[in-house]
């Protein structure tokens, strides 16, 4: 029986962490993720968890602590945002390539500069090539549910890769909303105990972690790591299926909202999906066939599934909440285009970069994107493929 509650996204993550009672929490504060170690510290002080709570001097150290703990066979967690994630960079690669199951709660915030504390996805999108799994949430409920599924995916012997559970800074992390929580014993049963096959000080089979890898072997290890990311696809779906069976809430690589007969559609990540759904309800009432793909799993990227979901759509706007600085669109756009390339009949595709550094995105903004797509579908003219939305400007390539 689920428990009806109201919590912020950060509270929900801390609550899930308490229920799981990980072995090690490496804590270093940074806005807007700070509340997570803060709430968890109370659980530690109250004796509600048996976690080793390690207060470190930087995020480089918090990730190093997680790497050490995970290599020793412990279930290690941390939380961070923005520059904190950037400061972990080197260690993110170490964690993934050493095939260590670490769970990082990423509360998405803009990367410097100019310095800004508000939400966009530039922090975790910048880490997209590090070898970490990445799952994103629309709201506090999804942040909680994704966190409960994280360790099952990350620790699976077919995967053995670290995982980032991302949510939008402030927009969901600091917003109190209704949520369904699960009972401690049900969560513990679902997540299970971590029983690593190998770890540093296993006396019958001691191993080295992170040694120099010479040219004759290193590529084999990199390919194994890449195969693990590929294998994570089926594990993500298996865990989601068991989650639905256990708790009744359904998850996949992405959520298809009103996509069945959609003529125009958005592809986006995170909290804006809720705003887009409100817009779709409004447009559908006017007879506009608008749909939405809310991407949940960005790593591994669900290429074939996404292409299949978009195959029948006339015009698609990918909405990137990170600039990417490629000069031709954000990362979600690039990967969605790549996914659609093999379709016999591709939809018209444009990129709309929006919401940078906390720039608000309203129902009216989303409606403007749909109206733009409708014009594209009607005229058959794609026009500029790389647009920015919401900034003060009179330039043409602005929605």
């Amino acid at each position: 029986m689920s428990i009806r509650e109201r919590l912020s996204g950060n509270e929900a993550i801390a609550y899930a962490m308490r229920q799981i009672d990980p072995d090690v929490f490496a804590a270093f504060p940074i806005t807007p993720s700070t509340e997570i170690p803060q709430y968890f510290a109370q659980y530690v002080a109250n004796g509600q968890v048996s976690t080793e709570y390690v207060t470190v001097e930087s995020e480089h150290s918090s990730m190093s602590t997680c790497v050490g703990a995970a290599a020793a066979g412990a279930r290690a967690v941390t939380a961070t945002s923005s520059c904190g994630l950037a400061f972990m960079y080197e260690m993110l690669y170490v964690a993934a390539s050493a095939r260590l199951s670490i769970t990082l709660a990423c509360v998405n915030r803009a990367l410097t500069g100019p310095i800004n504390i508000n939400n966009d996805h530039s922090d975790s999108m910048g880490a997209r090539d590090t070898g970490w799994l990445q799952i994103y949430a629309e709201n506090n409920q999804e942040a909680y549910d994704n966190y409960l599924q994280a360790m099952r995916i990350s620790e699976d012997p077919r995967v053995r890769l670290p995982i980032m559970i991302c949510q939008d800074g402030f927009i969901t992390s600091h917003a109190v909303e209704n949520i369904l929580l699960e009972a401690d014993e049900d969560v513990k049963r679902f997540v299970g105990e971590y029983r690593p096959e190998n770890y540093l000080l296993k006396h019958e089979n001691p191993l080295a972690v992170g040694p120099y890898d010479t040219c004759p072997y290193c590529m084999e290890h990199k390919v194994q790591q890449a195969m693990a990311m590929k294998a994570a696809r089926e594990v993500v779906l298996e865990v989601a299926a068991d989650f639905e069976k256990t708790f009744g809430r359904k998850y996949g690589f992405f959520e298809s909202y009103e996509m069945e007969d959609a003529e125009v559609a958005l592809v986006l990540i995170g909290s804006t999906a809720g705003t887009a759904k409100a817009c779709i309800r409004k447009l559908r009432a006017q007879g506009v066939k608008a749909g939405l793909i809310k991407l949940r799993v960005f790593r591994p990227f669900p290429m074939e599934e996404l292409a299949a979901a978009l195959a029948h759509v006339k015009a698609v706007a990918v909405m990137d909440k990170s600039e990417g600085n490629s000069g031709c669109g954000g990362p979600l756009f690039a990967e969605t285009c790549a996914a659609c390339y093999d379709l016999p009949q591709r939809p018209m595709l444009i990129d709309v970069v929006y919401g940078l550094a906390g720039r608000d995105c309203r129902v009216e903004d989303i409606e403007r994107v749909y109206r733009h797509l409708l014009t594209m579908a009607e005229t058959g003219v794609t026009g500029p493929r790389y647009l920015h939305m919401g900034q003060r400007s009179n330039a043409e390539e602005v929605l």
Partner: protein, 193 residues
């Protein structure tokens, strides 16, 4: 937004507890079985700087994750904001604004840039100073907006808040009565209903 949803915008100054009041309202609405959102707008806040917080309260889940630009109600926790912030921007003419002031609604209306809707006032300073021994405008403002907006049933709200105060102040029960008195008196003393 939709007819079943009530949207409220709070204006206060950093440190006065507008955010706390906003979250308390979300709590009270949640307790009465509604779907709620309570969220502050974050920036480089510091004590005394203008801040904004928002509530959505609905019979159905609210999926919108943007700030509120066309609120049904506005609460102004610090009347000195009236001269610097356009507090009635987008405010529904069929809604209302509640201002923390010792002045009357008639005195406040000329400061509201032509807002044609209901103007309500509450002297949260006097009420909180008399019942709590200090300037804590949260509880009186919360009670005032519930009374003005009727977004929650008044009797249920008072009962829920008492339970909430008993829980929150378990270690200092002496302040429960003061907060309850604040609440009940504010609901009676809101002007301009």
């Amino acid at each position: 937004m939709s007819s079943t949803m009530t949207e409220i915008r709070w204006h206060g100054r950093g440190g006065q507890g507008a955010k706390t009041a906003c979250l308390l309202l979300a709590d009270a609405a949640f307790a009465s079985g509604k779907y709620v959102q309570g969220f502050p707008e974050y920036g480089p806040e510091r004590m005394g700087a203008p801040i904004t917080a928002y509530n959505r309260i609905s019979e159905e889940p609210c999926t919108i994750h943007s700030n509120i630009y066309e609120p049904n109600y506005v609460v102004v926790v610090d009347e000195s904001l009236l001269s610097t912030v356009d507090v009635t921007a987008g405010l529904d003419p069929k809604g209302a604004i509640v201002v923390n002031t010792a002045r009357s609604p008639e005195d406040i209306r000329p400061l509201l840039r032509g807002y044609p809707g209901r103007v309500c006032t509450i002297d949260a300073r006097t009420i909180s100073e008399e019942h709590l021994g200090g300037y804590f405008p949260n509880t009186p403002m919360l009670a005032a907006i519930v009374q003005v907006s009727r977004v929650l049933d008044a009797g249920r709200f008072i009962a829920d808040m008492e339970a909430s105060f008993r829980h929150k102040f378990a270690t200092k029960p002496q302040v429960i009565q003061g907060n309850m008195s604040c609440l009940i008196r504010s609901m009676k003393e809101v002007r301009g209903l």
